[in-house]
Symmetry: C2
Subunit: 212 residues, 2 copies
């Protein structure tokens, strides 16, 4: 029997959702369950906190370096959050994709739009919707004992995020965490089987036709 020489190009899996829809739990479980999936490591200008490791939690850089990365198109997406910059460096991502590793991105619609412009064919985008607003409200409140104003502001941001669901490939209503995790796993399995992600198919089929 011929040795299967088919390799696979990795993919970039984007999970977006309003805060409180369960995205963080889904991501954590996915990373635990799938050895071929790793979290994207961002570059940031924010100071390193105790316990954080450069290159594992973030690539810590100063503003000058960050701006050079932006100008050199070395970031697939970037954003300013409060006073600090965050971005996804192209180099490590390209290296991972080339050896068939898949990268998970936990980013909002603005980051997703930038990624789509830079690397659409490697991108698989999933939007997680909450089952109801009351459930979302409950989850946003459950986070901390915040004032009504803070909760209202979070809800407004959530609604802005939700308004971008039509830009995503797949939609999951997170009624049930286990089911949602299984659904994202099916999406991963399925997208890995897409023809254009399987490298070496031409040679493999040539081998079949030559009677190997």
């Amino acid at each position: 029997m011929q040795t299967t020489k088919i390799r696979r190009r990795g993919l970039m899996l984007v999970l977006s959702s309003p805060s409180g829809a369960g995205k963080t739990s889904i991501s954590r479980h996915l990373l635990e369950l799938d050895e071929n999936l790793e979290m994207s490591v961002s570059a940031t200008t924010r100071p390193r906190r105790p316990g954080e490791v450069n290159g594992r939690d973030y690539f810590f850089v100063d503003v000058t370096v960050f701006r050079e990365m932006v100008d050199g198109r070395q970031l697939l997406e970037h954003a300013k959050v409060f006073d600090h910059y965050y971005g996804s460096p192209r180099g490590p991502i390209e290296d991972a994709l080339a050896i068939g590793r898949d990268i998970l991105f936990d980013i909002d619609w603005q980051g997703t739009q930038q990624l789509a412009e830079m690397a659409r064919s490697d991108l698989v985008t999933v939007f997680i919707l909450p089952p109801s607003t009351s459930e979302l409200d409950r989850r946003l409140r459950a986070r901390a004992l915040d004032s009504e104003d803070v909760v209202a502001s979070r809800m407004a941001k959530a609604m802005d995020e939700i308004s971008h669901y039509p830009e995503y490939d797949y939609i999951i209503v997170n009624d049930d965490l286990d089911q949602s995790i299984a659904n994202v796993q099916s999406i991963l399995t399925s997208e890995r089987l897409r023809r254009e992600r399987q490298l070496g198919l031409t040679d493999f089929v040539k081998g079949l036709r030559q009677g190997q």
Copy 2:
């Protein structure tokens, strides 16, 4: 909590492969395992055999009716095999898709090309490759005690079929039957979660934004 009013449009799952690559086994198991999936019922001009039920195994029609169906664009694909015509009637398929049922098609590349022209957005196409030619040869021989000529002719037809793999969305190398079945199930799960197949998302999100 708001009642989830999201419905789903069914999809048309096409499995193609050279004869002997395991497609029939995969189809049979899929139909057993997935209650929402049903086999497409073809119209045919071939005579009914004992035990066959009209409307379940085939829609049995005469040549005049079949030609009317072709002329009236009532068939999503059709072909002549030896002396008889076979085709997929549009009506029952449309009815099934509209209520969220998924239809399995076991057709070759020519049928798939016709389906793609008629209904691309409902179509999910999977090509099953054998792991090796020796394996394919073994499977083709295992079917019956046929002459070398018959086996060679089957192999030539298999090679012609294989040459069309680049026209399919997903490629599965059938090394292991159970794994291949699980892979097609993941493709089904994943494709059902595609945004454009989920009907009523706009109203659902509108409900979320109105605080339901």
